[in-house]
Symmetry: C2
Subunit: 272 residues, 2 copies
């Protein structure tokens, strides 16, 4: 049984709720942290949202998400860098110490090219992020997203990218959904921890069978991922941060979100 | 432009056709090889199907598919070994020198346990396969199938399993669809070739966006996989066998299969 002092929930998990309702409901339920998705901010002042988070007794854990640095067109890459600099400013204003990066891929070019552009893109924002007190967390995504979302599919690849960039504020977000299948993941998580680069830990579960590539994630304990094992590995590797529940699920988004929040908390207590 | 002397098609690619029609149509179109799926054999005498293949001037390339060795229940594993021994006999009768193995996974247990059971299962059939002149090709499957279909998700994992089993007739089937995203794949294909274990090469393409986890494979050239690059890598690694077109696609299965066969051949000539 986990207590709730390290439970964080992503606004995208309870997507039907506005960020204001999410803050209120998470706080009332005893959740400790919130990761804010940029679409939940829309026209709001991030500093005001940050104050509301702290006033509710919550901590802003991360801003999701920057990235998408890879593109065939140079102009698209330039705009991505600008957009990521805006995300860094938003995170700083919000008081979130981390921006999670879904690094991108462009199916019109080789993955190696996308990876080189990712290194360049992160390199173009890391100094400004450091000045702003913001860390950047490269999130390896499941290989089923290698066509359009992330040329970084494994912990090994994320570690290699971080080695290449070699900036103290550039590290990795570990999400069990993306890496559970990989026999190299435990060793690469340890490598990541040893380098001081374990910046975030996301949990959910892999539903069996999975009906949709994007929107059929499961609650912890419903699927086949041994979440407590990965929690143990990240914590043995030095991670002391939040356990962030990030679930995209049309079936859960169609539920009453208060009931769903109860289920999330129950699943977190028993299965993380 | 590739000529057709090394083009092989899987019966599952033109699934609406019976094996008899597939043989006739492939031969008429100048295709050189056929890989027979076990469901296409159903009640038929495999030796008779083998004669029909050779009489049509085709070569039987592989039998698809054995495997599914991993299971929580011991009795299920025992039955899987029996079923695989039947597959070996069928391949021998058919005159197909290779049985492709989709090794299995059981989401009710750790992947490591499934992998150990796979080693045991292959170990239980490899000697009989050798006597029958049949090679066994472990096919690593895309990580999106790690829940129920294959605990072997990468070339590295397939090579490791083969090292562990260490039988001359146990090797690997490389399918671009499953491994294209993996930065380690080229080096692991070379490792596989150096060990004399490259037994099969399957091609198709990854559609962008992919609408279904199973049945939305694309023709070569339609998606984002650099198929000629992988052909070059396997051939530089010593592979001299067929290029096998294996496409599961509800959209292509709903087409007139003769027109589809023309498209396959066109895509093969230009994109492999």
């Amino acid at each position: 049984m986990s207590d709730l002092s390290r439970l964080c929930i992503h606004t995208a998990t309870t997507k039907p709720w506005s960020v204001e309702i999410a803050i209120e409901q998470y706080a009332r339920a005893g959740v400790a942290g919130i990761t804010v998705w940029r679409d939940a901010l829309s026209d709001r002042d991030p500093a005001a949202v940050g104050r509301r988070i702290r006033d509710a007794g919550l901590e802003a854990v991360s801003l999701c998400r920057g990235g998408f640095f890879a593109a065939v067109e140079r102009e698209t890459r330039r705009r991505a860098v600008e957009e990521n600099l805006r995300a860094v400013e938003e995170a700083a204003a919000l008081g979130a110490p981390v921006v999670v990066l879904v690094c991108g891929a462009d199916s019109g070019q080789a993955l190696e090219t996308s990876r080189r552009q990712i290194v360049e893109g992160i390199g173009a924002i890391s100094a400004r992020a450091r000045e702003a007190g913001v860390r950047l967390a490269v999130e390896p995504l499941h290989p089923m997203y290698a066509d359009e979302k992330s040329a970084i599919s494994t912990m090994q690849s994320a570690n290699d990218i971080c080695d290449e960039i070699s900036a103290q504020n550039v590290g990795v977000a570990v999400d069990v959904y993306h890496i559970w299948w990989d026999p190299n993941a435990p060793a690469e998580i340890r490598r990541c921890g040893a380098a001081g680069r374990l910046f975030a830990f996301h949990v959910c579960d892999w539903r069996v069978p999975t009906g949709d590539l994007l929107l059929d994630r499961a609650l912890m304990g419903e699927g086949c991922i041994d979440v407590p094992r990965f929690r143990r590995i990240v914590e043995e590797s030095g991670f002391e941060g939040y356990h962030e529940v990030e679930i995209f699920s049309t079936r859960y988004w169609s539920m009453d979100q208060s009931n769903y929040l109860d289920q999330i908390i129950e699943a977190y207590r028993r299965q993380v």
